[in-house]
Symmetry: C3
Subunit: 260 residues, 3 copies
């Protein structure tokens, strides 16, 4: 049997053993699997944070990798658990927006999980352990799961494309603040017309004006802000050896102007 | 050789490399082992937290899994290191209460580790690296360790069963506050007589009264408190999409009343 | 093929998926490798912290282990990426001091990475994913990398040996504060003449005087400070079941006196 990888993203932290329970279940079903901790430090209930973490990491994993994403404030309500398949990967988790970037960038098929078809006991509060982890392990093992799934037509997403205000300006949003305090915007490298030089792009927000998309932090003095592309191709406000978020007062959802 | 798993629970954090040292020692003795990070984020010296983390995770791991638990404020004193065996698993660590839930729920045998019999050098401050990790690796490898062990009659425990005050009420204790701010009590699902409906159970503490054990957070409005069973079957006070601990002023050890 | 280990130390945290991206790249190149999380919780840009974490962990890993250390505030500037080889291990990362302890304690060879020779695309801001992780994977796989490397003569180090002030006293520095609040000094067990008893060593700093290097925290009452050797053989100020750093006002770089 080939080497299978299951990547985990949760907001559980590790200290209560909930992630350990998921890992134990997976190893009990398929002892030879490689479980990869992608993150358990997503902020509690931070669906955007989980989506961003998945965006930044998933593309680099080998074909066939299964990602289990459990940031699930709606567990036990009528929100569905889903299985998404792209050409290269499989994604399992709640249908609450955690897969927003996946479905924005790739073609996919979606199925919902039929809880009442699962032939084992399921708690109402911990589908990570009782639903998503066992399904991932079964799929890694090559077992049939289609009897537990049904087509799912509409997948939740919080992602909004930048809004065109005029031929030379977009209203963009803060999508996420990362670990280093970089401020990630919903303006992708592919949203910039090829005719426009990155050097003439300008970001505006109140008194803040940043001109030119730069290549590295080191192009400005320590402590200064710059515009650059983040590691997934989104525009970000960064700060040389410091936190841009600490300097600026911006939070996810806030709007700024990009002039091109 | 079959695939062996060693699960680690420590309060070391990872930033100082102490966990790395333990992993290196284990891999040096048995390169094919699967080391599972269960948690390294137990609060420093928090024996209850480690015990709770182990409670929530251990049962799901395959037979033969070896758990190494190192929350060890008494390292270098006369507290013993011990090896516990249940029908399914092996547990290695200091005898200071970290195995309280294991010995409360399962039959077990216990042995103490004879430091002066170990034929390698041992520091006085880091038995995780010098005693527990190497013994776990040797056991995973199938090597004889019984010459380093002797029977151990009494294993430490902080766990107290709920105290019956009358036929219809118990004094219960806060055992632990988890990552999400859920408040875990020492009242187990099996402590509730089968004749009593979960809906009539009432929790009292000063002005706080919570009636009925519910199935999911979603049964109450966002921000409200509920009583429910936690993922290991203990009664907990939770809060829909929020922290119960932040709302209530309760700490481990405090007493509340359960009316049935 | 033998079992290869790649150990990771970064300041990325895990929540943004940057570590996940590195892991994905490595598994894509060599699916059978064992990736070991040593730490992703180094404080942002804390080169000393990364060096200390590597010091405490590396020696215990099997021969052939490859360590990738990415604390890299200068990424995108003219600082070099390097590959160090000691008799037992390989180290890959930026040449900014993260390998200070390695080169202080062991003989080594050093090569710098020739970015313009690498036949794949490289971002300016994320060499962990685009340079260090792929090179580590290639070396784990046994692929030739020497065409991407050139001799490197001088490796950066922040480490200073203790300064001898008189025959019986040294000026020593705080190197690092660890997770438990232990204060690590640049005075190594091997810096103490064999003729001097550890019991007569005295540490002085303003009003603080600590006499005698002890074996375990338990030799003093809970809350008291002691001098002892840390797990890598450096002198440390520790506190029985508490944080020495919280009690004393010392930061990395500060000088104290050791009288022998």
């Amino acid at each position: 049997m080939e080497n299978k990888i299951i990547g985990l993203i949760t907001d559980f932290g590790t200290e209560d053993g909930y992630v350990g329970a998921m890992k134990g279940k997976i190893y009990s079903l398929i002892p030879t699997v490689t479980i990869v901790d992608i993150s358990h430090d997503i902020k509690p209930f931070d669906i955007r944070g989980a989506a961003f973490c998945l965006l930044n990491s998933h593309a680099y994993f080998p074909p066939g990798t299964i990602f289990v994403v459990v940031v699930d404030p709606g567990v036990g309500t009528e929100r569905h658990g889903i299985v998404l398949r792209t050409e290269k990967h499989i994604f399992i988790g709640p249908d609450n927006g955690v897969f927003s970037f996946i479905i924005h960038h790739q073609s996919f098929t979606a199925e919902k999980i039929l809880l009442d078809k699962l032939p084992w006991e399921i708690s109402d509060t911990f589908h990570g352990r009782d639903v998503f982890a066992p399904l991932a392990a079964m799929m890694a093992k090559g077992l049939e799961v289609h009897k537990y799934l049904a087509p799912h037509t509409s997948v939740s997403s919080f992602f909004q494309a930048p809004r065109k205000m005029a031929t030379d300006r977009f209203a963009v949003q803060v999508v996420h603040i990362d670990h280093f305090g970089n401020i990630i915007l919903n303006f992708h490298r592919s949203d910039l017309p090829q005719s426009v030089s990155p050097r003439q792009v300008e970001l505006q927000s109140g008194f803040l004006k940043l001109k030119g998309i730069r290549k590295t932090f080191g192009e400005v003095p320590v402590g200064d802000l710059i515009l650059c592309w983040d590691s997934s191709g989104y525009l970000q406000i960064a700060r040389n050896q410091g936190s841009a978020a600490q300097k600026l007062n911006l939070t996810p959802g806030q709007e700024l102007i990009v002039k091109i």
